[in-house]
């Protein structure tokens, strides 16, 4: 087994081998990348590669090939490194040309004056696990990997552990008890990833790993990118295949430099904060030298992550039963929404919405839903969020309590002292579901931060962009986040569509009722829903000229009757609803029928809102 996986266990040997063969012609770099790409393509080889998301860092062999499903949280400055260098062994007086690519540390005495030295450039990305990734997404991708990747026998990490124990003991000796405990645990239990606890527990005290969402766990990683780094963008989701580098010497160097900088202030180009951020101890933030990265369109492990055109095939297999899946999902959501089938319909539309294009500043396809009329006191919204969490691959519930609004950092901000982008809750990957719980908001004073946060949320909803704060200026980052607002009355935030919740059931014990609804669903059923939602979102959509004409006619007709009832904005919304409705039925194009249905749906919704208005209007 190990021989087969040499390229996984010891990829640097492959790199060095190819480098030696190349005779310093520069195309060896391409060959290396191609070699690994080929290897990974072969019959699901990528599932053999251990994943940093699931396997605790100390189980992974240093300098082995690993993968990491992550989001680019920050981009550091490019750095120059010794791509090729020559070592000069003083004892034997022999010179040797070595390759410095994919490594952090040089080996042997470097001859800085050698003519063979080649300076190259690489870029560092600070990557974090996808924020708000649902537990089920983590588990499923974990199970898929474990079946293969766990081939690395447990014995193999024991020596490893001993090798590096000196370094780790320093950090861990405060909790040796716990440590032993963990090591003794059977593997299966670790799938819940409690093993991260210890590392994150003591890292938060010393080092802020800069996760966008509070309470997140998991490894952060410095990914070194060697080519085409301009192609990556902030907040991109990636699956990175790279060589893990956790050489303890890295942190030793950091310490030394820190010490020396104290002695010699003229040498300081980095502040202490900067050093902490840019060269954290590798035991906490490992380095990953990227060989190959696959951009992720979505992070639903149930669907193939590759290019969207393959998605069609996959979906068509589901498509057969699409109608039934949709119906089941609708029933389920109706139950969850206490018998409100209209709200359930809109919730489905909301869940498959997606910004598919931007026309100058206008994002097209977004569908922010405001569920008003949610009960205030009961933990209903919490349960609703749990349901949504079960359905989408990543989500976050933001309690809009006064305290949160005034204190939470939502907009990412550049910290110039540490030279990094301090993350905020609105730094989310594409297609994340943001659940804004306005029922938690009470009366009171919003301070400056609160006003800024509300503005940021408003911008996010209206323009699907977040203005990151760079102190001297702001920078606009477009995003694609599904925002669902639950509120008692109409939300104070703008929304594309407001549905007033009208429960037909009135269960005496809400909690019991909801958990009963939950239990009634089989896990396999959930998987179907998940595939359906992610799949429907990725479908293409067109509209024929004929329908365009019909829609125009219709609009003119509607305006004739009552111009007030149908504004341009209403048409905007109607077009989005029609689009989402067609997609939710697996249709690629708008039909006359679909248009009528969309109109009916909207009419129903509006009438309900108006009723609500007149109701509340009667109140003094």
């Amino acid at each position: 087994m190990p021989t087969v996986h040499d390229w996984i266990n010891n990829p640097l040997a492959v790199v060095d081998g190819l480098f030696a063969q190349s005779n310093s012609s520069p195309d060896w770099e391409k060959k290396v990348v191609e070699y690994f790409k080929e290897k990974l393509k072969l019959n699901d080889a990528h599932t053999w590669v251990p994943s940093l998301n699931d396997v605790p860092l100390y189980y992974l062999k240093p300098n082995s090939l690993v993968k990491f499903r992550c989001m680019v949280q920050d981009m550091f400055d490019p750095e120059f490194f010794m791509g090729v260098y020559e070592t000069n062994d003083l004892t034997s007086n022999s010179k040797q040309v070595k390759c410095g690519k994919y490594k952090d540390i040089t080996v042997g005495g470097v001859d800085f004056n050698s003519r063979n030295t080649v300076t190259s450039e690489r870029q560092t990305f600070y990557c974090v696990p996808i924020p708000g990734e649902s537990q089920w997404a983590k588990e499923i991708s974990f199970i898929w990997c474990t079946s293969q990747a766990r081939v690395v026998p447990s014995t193999s990490y024991v020596p490893n552990r001993h090798k590096r124990s000196y370094e780790e003991d320093d950090e861990m000796d405060t909790q040796p008890q716990h440590d032993v405990d963990m090591w003794g645990r059977p593997k299966r239990q670790e799938t819940e990833a409690p093993s991260h606890d210890s590392s994150s527990a003591h890292c938060t005290s010393s080092l802020d790993l800069n996760f966008p969402l509070p309470g997140e766990k998991g490894p952060a990683c410095l990914v070194k990118v060697y080519e085409d780094w301009d192609g990556f963008k902030l907040n991109d989701m990636l699956e990175v295949f790279g060589i893990l580098s956790v050489d303890p010497a890295l942190s030793v160097i950091a310490d030394e430099r820190e010490a020396s900088s104290l002695l010699d202030p003229t040498e300081v180009t980095e502040t202490v904060e900067e050093q902490r951020v840019h060269s954290p101890p590798p035991s906490l933030v490992p380095r990953l030298h990227m060989l190959y990265a696959q951009p992720l369109v979505h992070n639903n492990p149930l669907l193939p992550s590759s290019a969207p055109e393959n998605n069609g095939d996959h979906l068509s297999s589901v498509l057969g039963e699409l109608a039934s899946v949709r119906a089941e999902l609708h029933t389920y959501l109706t139950h969850v929404l206490m018998g409100d089938s209209l709200a359930a319909e809109y919730l489905i539309l909301h869940l498959i919405s997606n910004v598919y294009s931007r026309r100058d500043v206008l994002p097209l396809g977004k569908f922010t839903l405001n569920l008003s009329g949610c009960p205030h006191s009961s933990p209903y919204t919490e349960h609703l969020y749990k349901v949504i969490q079960q359905l989408v691959p990543s989500s976050y519930r933001l309690c809009m309590s006064l305290h949160n609004m005034n204190n939470q950092r939502m907009v990412p901000r550049k910290d110039y002292t540490a030279n990094r982008l301090v993350s905020g809750t609105l730094q989310l990957a594409n297609n994340t579901s943001l659940f804004l719980d306005e029922t938690q908001l009470e009366q009171g004073q919003l301070d400056a931060t609160g006003v800024r946060n509300i503005t940021a949320l408003g911008n996010l909803i209206s323009w699907q962009k977040v203005d990151y704060d760079f102190n001297y200026h702001q920078m606009e980052f477009p995003c694609n986040i599904n925002v669902l607002i639950t509120s008692e009355g109409r939300s104070l935030l703008p929304s594309d569509s407001q549905v007033n919740l009208r429960p037909t059931l009135n269960p005496p014990n809400l909690e019991e009722y909801l958990s009963a609804v939950q239990v009634a669903q089989v896990p396999s059923q959930f998987n179907k829903y998940r595939i359906y939602l992610s799949g429907a979102r990725a479908l293409n959509y067109t509209i024929s000229d004929e329908i365009t004409k019909a829609v125009e006619e219709d609009f003119v007709e509607m305006r004739k009757d009552d111009p007030q009832s149908m504004s341009a904005e209403d048409l905007h919304r109607l077009l989005v609803v029609a689009r989402l409705l067609s997609l939710s039925h697996g249709q690629n194009t708008l039909s006359r029928d679909g248009w009528m249905k969309a109109k009916q749906l909207e009419a129903l919704r509006i009438s309900r809102t108006q009723q609500q208005k007149s109701l509340s209007g009667n109140e003094p």
Binding site: M75, F81, V107, N113, R115, F232, V252, L421, V556, A568
Partner: protein, 836 residues
């Protein structure tokens, strides 16, 4: 080693600079020991003027004493080249150390190599192809001969452009006494491309040569001048000006110019150049040069032979200033979706503290890279280099913004093809329509509003009458959009904000007066007062988009008064009194007070804004929902297309945003139309006509402000055509647009006439007349009642209502009472009205 040693561009930074350095010691500190440098210079520079006095004892006044800090300390300024102390150039210094190390062991390879050159030897600096003699000669020739007749640079103001430029600058130096000569690299390039190439590739060798050349020349010409230290040459604008992202390993050790924004400056770092030791036994003094950041402490006193008796005397050691500056990419240079890069910059000596965080600067300097410090106990090295730039020249790009016009800094560089393309576009007869339809294509119709905004983007021509004491005339056009909610006003604002380079977007709800103007902050660290500028100042020369204008507090709105007419902002706060420029156009959007626009009311009544502010808007548009079938049909078509057309189709239909941006930028900087005779006549006529309209009904319908607006609009329209003259068609369009806007906003709902006084006084003339009539009627009524000193309020009201044929509201009655009270005819106390 023969002829020119070619340099591998990929060679590591350490190699070029320390190629023959035997030790692996890293990062030499910028030093220049006196003796060695002097010795080196002799071999380096075969110039005739290299007399050296003394052998081991250094002549501090020698020009060859390049970089002896001690020389700076000693001696008062004397005239003549030999009398003027040289000053160390720490900006170039860090590598000057290198060649001299091996000088004694292998002098040949160190400094020069032999190449056949006809009769004798031709010397070049090791590792380069620079011959000192030739280089110096060339540069002197450049200084003596170069003229820049077409130069438009600010720095050359007041110089005779047909005379050799730099000779005039040398004269200036002798007058001003600031021994720095800034040299524009592009001048060198046009003069001698080879010299330019050498300067870019080997700055640390070439610039000292330039220094020598310029000092020789200077003191030849003006032997009696007294300077603080020798002249230093500071090249700037190396043509390789680029953004930070484009820097790559090939640029190491080259002269580069990059632009960016200062985000952090360190405190001043004193860097020891020379250590002063004193023997504690015999009080013998000795000086030790800093060698690569280290001081070799003398173990034995040379005088009394006592070991370990030498002690460092800090305040007699020589230090130079150094400052670390962090530079961040300017936001304009960045690709979308990425974070900005930063670079470390070191400023030395007098460049320290020249820039502040927040400044936009262009810096010229030498790009350096050094391996990370070696861990002495380990053979392993982090294989990463530390990079920084040693700055030679700063140029603030936003410096002038606060003080005056800065067309130069704004100048975006367009390629010839781009300019040709833009001009071709401008030549088209329908360019105005094309551009206006390219503006916010996702928003349907509202053609006139788009045209108005387009003219706003171009702006009028700046006129400066400060000399005659009339101050600046506003060139910016202000526009107010009001209308029903949901008529994509915000979207239009967002679009404009994204289109212009210096746009600001604020919402009336979320902004305070302070956020709009400027505030004073105390820096917690330095206890220094810092002026933080707000949206209006930041959008100087740009557009400030204010959404929800009506929701703005009165206090906040009041600051706009000054900005919108005088275009300045006065601050008097926490001991700072200043006037900042805020030449910003304001594009504001307001919603009607009653959520829906009430067509029965005037604009003022609908949006409840003070008329003093309204009259400062050149154009006020109503964005209402027109209700007719054809419009609806087109709207529907537009919206459906918006949703389902592919990107490419849209691209074909409209000019894209980038072209529009460039077009506007080009017109703003290069077209300055002036009124033609014909246009002035047309304007006068238009104004007189506007005044006439009202005079028939006994009211004033136009004020000089409206004339100014017309002029601005006409100028902007001429700019759209890239025309340098305002012609009558421009005036026609200005008139039309102005009329359209007025028709919408200043129509008196009671009479149906356009009435400018609605906007200027907040009340239509008819309404004012009406008010007077009511007051008169009331007066008559009271008089008819005879001598009654007091009346019941309600009684009077009822009487008046009964008497009058028109309905009189309580408001009107109150107003009439107030008017009479103002006349001192009566007073109102509680429920009784007393005559006076």
């Amino acid at each position: 080693m023969t002829s020119t040693a070619s340099e591998d561009p990929l060679s590591p930074p350490s190699q070029r600079s320390r190629a023959h350095d035997t030790s692996t010691e890293l990062q030499p500190m910028p030093t220049s020991p006196a003796m060695d440098t002097a010795a080196q210079d002799v071999s380096l520079f075969s110039s005739p003027m290299a007399p050296r006095s003394g052998t081991s004892e250094v002549d501090a006044s020698s020009p060859l004493m390049y970089g002896t800090p001690s020389s700076r300390v000693e001696g008062t300024p004397r005239s003549g080249i030999r009398g003027t102390p040289a000053r160390q150039r720490a900006d170039l210094g860090s590598v000057r150390k290198a060649p001299q190390v091996d000088m004694h062991s292998e002098p040949v390879s160190e400094s020069c190599c032999h190449s056949e050159q006809g009769a004798g030897q031709r010397l070049v600096i090791w590792g380069t192809d620079v011959n000192v003699g030739t280089c110096k000669e060339k540069f002197q020739r450049f200084l003596q001969q170069f003229t820049a007749p077409n130069s438009r640079e600010e720095e050359n103001a007041g110089l005779d452009l047909n005379e050799p430029l730099y000779m005039q600058k040398l004269d200036e130096i002798s007058v001003v006494g600031e021994p720095v000569l800034n040299v524009n690299c592009s001048h060198i390039q046009t003069f001698d491309a080879d010299l330019y190439r050498q300067l870019i590739c080997y700055p640390q060798e070439v610039i000292p040569t330039f220094d020598m050349a310029v000092n020789e020349l200077f003191f030849d010409r003006l032997p009696d001048s007294v300077l603080e230290h020798q002249i230093q040459v500071r090249p700037y604008s190396a043509l390789k000006t680029r953004n930070m992202r484009a820097l790559n390993p090939e640029d190491i050790d080259q002269l580069i110019t990059i632009s960016g924004m200062v985000i952090r400056t360190s405190q001043l770092i004193p860097e020891m150049q020379e250590a002063f030791f004193r023997c504690q036994v015999c009080v013998f003094n000795t000086r030790v040069e800093v060698d690569r950041g280290r001081i070799a402490e003398p173990a034995v006193c040379r005088n009394c032979n006592t070991t370990h008796s030498m002690a460092l005397v800090h305040n007699r050691s020589a230090f130079s200033d150094k400052q670390m500056i962090k530079l961040q990419e300017s936001p304009e240079d960045m690709p979308a979706g990425q974070t900005p890069h930063t670079t470390v910059v070191y400023a030395h000596n007098d460049l320290v503290d020249k820039v502040q965080p927040g400044d936009r600067i262009n810096i010229t300097g030498i790009y350096r890279a050094a391996p990370m410090r070696l861990n002495p106990r380990q053979s392993q090295v982090k294989s990463v280099y530390k990079t920084h730039i040693d700055v030679i020249h700063f140029r603030k790009t936003d410096e002038k913004r606060l003080h005056g016009l800065d067309e130069d800094g704004e100048q975006k560089l367009f390629t010839k093809e781009r300019v040709a393309m833009l001009k071709e576009l401008a030549a088209k007869p329908d360019v105005y329509e094309r551009l206006s339809s390219a503006l916010a294509p996702s928003i349907y119709e509202h053609e006139d509003i788009k045209k108005g905004i387009l003219l706003q983007l171009f702006g009028g021509t700046r006129k400066d009458f400060t000399q005659t004491g009339r101050g600046n005339f506003r060139a910016e056009i202000n526009i107010l959009l009001c209308g029903d909610p949901g008529t994509s006003k915000s979207q239009l604002l967002q679009y404009v904000y994204n289109l212009v380079p210096r746009g600001q977007y604020t919402s009336g709800k979320g902004s305070s007066a302070v956020g709009l103007t400027a505030y004073v902050m105390k820096d917690p660290e330095t206890r220094q007062l810092v002026l933080q500028t707000g949206a209006l100042v930041l959008s100087d020369n740009g557009i400030c988009c204010i959404d929800e204008f009506d929701k703005m507090s009165d206090n906040t709105r009041s600051v706009l008064h000054e900005v919108m007419e005088q275009q300045t902002l006065s601050i008097a706060k926490a001991g700072i009194i200043c006037q900042l420029n805020a030449r910003t156009s304001v594009l504001a959007a307001a919603n009607p007070v009653e959520s829906q626009w009430n067509p029965k009311k005037t604009t003022i009544e609908n949006i409840q804004l003070p008329h003093t502010l309204l009259s400062r808007f050149d154009l006020i548009f109503l964005m209402l929902d027109p209700q007719d079938e054809a419009y609806d049909r087109r709207l529907a078509h537009h919206l459906v297309a918006l949703y389902y057309q592919s990107e490419e189709q849209i691209e074909e239909e409209h000019l894209d945003m980038a072209v529009l941006k460039d077009y506007i930028a080009f017109a703003r900087t290069s077209v300055h139309p002036r009124l033609s005779e014909e246009a002035s006549q047309a304007l006068i006529e238009a104004y007189v006509d506007m005044r006439k309209i009202g005079s028939g009904r006994g009211m004033v319908s136009a004020y000089p402000r409206q004339l100014e607006s017309l002029i601005r609009l006409a100028e902007a329209h001429a700019k759209v055509r890239f025309s340098s003259k305002v012609e009558s068609i421009d005036v026609e369009e200005a008139k039309r647009l102005h009329r359209e806007a007025l028709k919408q906003s200043a129509t008196d709902p009671r009479t149906g006439f356009v009435d400018i006084s609605i906007l200027t006084t907040g009340m239509s003339a008819t309404a004012r007349k009406r008010k007077e009539e009511v007051a008169q009627a009331l007066k008559k009524l009271i008089q008819s009642k005879g001598k009654t000193p007091a009346m019941k309020y309600q009684q009077l009201f009822d009487d008046l209502r009964g008497q009058s044929e028109a309905a009189i509201t309580k408001d009107m009655f109150d107003e009439a009472l107030r008017a009479l009270a103002d006349e001192d005819y009566l007073t109102v106390t509680g429920k009784t009205v007393r005559l006076l």
